[in-house]
Amino acid sequence: MIEISGLSHSIRGTQILAPTTLTLPAGQITALIGPNGAGKSTLSRLIARIEAPPAGTVRVNGLDVATTHGGRLARELAFMGQHTGLASRLRVGELVAFGRWPHCHGRPGAADRAAVAQALQDFELEPLAKRFLDTLSGGQAQRAHLAMAAAQETPWLILDEPLNNLDLAHARALMAYLARLRDGGRSVLIVLHDLNFAAGWADHVVAMKGGAVVAEGTPHEVLTAPALSALYETEIAVATHGERPLVLHHLP
């Protein structure tokens, strides 16, 4: 469980995140949605202590991220941000192996090697394991960074727009992978722009706008036509497909 209490953030007097109190359930996939500039990335980065919280507290499975040692937190939560573009000249296998750093500090044991091999397999990276990152396509590099976070094997996985650069098949494979993690008892927070990925896979949806949380609940509760039309200030319809909502924006 992630407990957020009174968390806020401002940059030079401009409020990026209004004081937020929120609980993210364990063992579920929570999707964070909202228009550009809603504060989704800021919130996910504050939770993952990429930026130090200026006010308020975040507790991940009881650990206060402001006071817990970084190495301890790295065994509790893994984070993948959007700044994966500036490519380092590492091989894919070496990058994924760095995901084990919080566990082995550069001295990998059998468990570490197994986790790296599993992550390479899960993200279909085995044929690319010896390739340098700066020779990969955007989508391949994105999968390599995802595999690094996956290899960390943490109870919480926090992903900021992980579907960037991924084609439909790989995006779907990622969501199915996250669902498998969830079924194994792990928890996921994922920032999504494509609402149908939230509709199709999330257990819990948090909607943000203007630096504040405006709605949270199950996909059926949050992903409604009036709520989404107001959230994005454009006309959106919602149908039901199977047991899940289906968001439609190409209206006649």
Partner: protein
């Protein structure tokens, strides 16, 4: 060729060069002017060790700086660090001329650290995508500090004294007792190898480093410390050698990548081969006179750098 064979090969080449270096010089072992044993231990061994330590430490400090500022086109020698060390030496010479040598070294190292910190702070404000702004900022910083040092040295009649540090380096003055500070530079480079994974992770960006549980600022401080210590000890002992920290890291990472734990030993050996090779060339080209190793390093290094830039364009295109 598998990259794991690179370091034994480089070690073998360096070994051969070291043997050559022990046998070549203005004085021959047969002349009888000095005993062969004295010549070997007082002059040849220290000179060979000095060239190896200088090359290895400078090449490693180049890698470290490139990782912590995330730019392949910088090295301490083009970022104002040697000039800052010289400024520190000049200041301590003016303020406390009688200070013991270790005080002067400490001040030089601290000043070099100040210069490196200033450079790191300066480039934080530059847009990351403008790759060539970072080395340019380094050159400007080096120019400004260097001009200040030259001005003060001119005013105080110490220009000749200062020029020893800022002109291209050489090893002809190296004898036992006058190069041992370079072992500190070597130790700092060895320390960098123990922190190699940390530097490689920092090269992924502060965000990724934080996510993996590292404190990016702590790794940055460690890197700046290594850079400052290496630069100060080299400048004080033998003067500055440009391009060593630029060429070797770029050549080696092209083949081996940024997995520094594997690449750093090869970078260090490569730097030692380059500088020792240039020193040997300098001794034999116009024998019995000498061309300073730093001059040859500068000429060959500039050519190699141009080639790297040209090749880089072709790879990208």
């Amino acid at each position: 060729m598998p990259t794991r064979l690179l370091w034994p090969l480089a070690a073998a080449v360096l070994g051969l060069l070291a043997i050559a270096s022990l046998m070549i010089g203005a004085a021959s072992f047969e002349s009888g002017q000095t005993s062969a044993e004295t010549l070997l231990w007082v002059s040849r061994v220290p000179r060979t060790a000095a060239a190896i330590l200088t090359g290895a430490a400078l090449a490693v400090s180049g890698v470290v700086m490139q990782q912590i500022v995330r730019n392949r086109f910088v090295e301490p020698a083009t970022a104002g660090t040697p000039e800052a060390a010289a400024a520190g030496l000049l200041a301590v010479t003016l303020i406390a001329p009688g200070a013991p040598i270790w005080v002067k070294m400490a001040v030089a190292a601290l000043a070099a650290l100040g210069g490196a910190v200033l450079f790191a702070a300066l480039i934080r404000r530059l847009p990351a995508r403008e790759v060539f702004l970072v080395p340019l900022a380094g050159l400007i910083l080096a120019g400004v500090i260097g001009a200040g040092v030259t001005f003060v040295a001119w005013e105080t009649d110490l220009l000749q004294y200062v020029s020893v540090w800022l002109m291209s380096g050489e090893f002809s003055g190296v004898i036992a007792g006058r190069y041992e500070l370079l072992w500190i530079a070597g130790a700092a480079a060895a320390l960098a190898w123990f922190a190699a994974d940390r530097f490689a992770i920092l090269g992924l960006g502060p965000e990724a480093a934080t996510a993996l549980g590292l404190n990016p600022r702590a790794v940055l401080r460690l890197g700046l410390g290594v850079v400052a210590l290496v630069t100060a000890m080299v400048v004080v002992s033998v003067g500055m050698f440009p391009f060593v920290g630029l060429i070797l890291p770029n050549l080696v990472t092209r083949v081996m990548g940024d997995n520094l734990r594997a690449a750093l030993p090869v970078v260090a050996l490569g730097g030692a081969i380059f500088v020792l090779g240039c020193d040997i060339l300098g001794r034999v080209l116009i024998h019995p006179y000498e061309i300073p190793a730093g001059t040859i390093v500068g000429v060959l290094g500039a050519l190699a750098f141009l080639w790297l830039l040209w090749r880089g364009d072709r790879d990208a295109g």
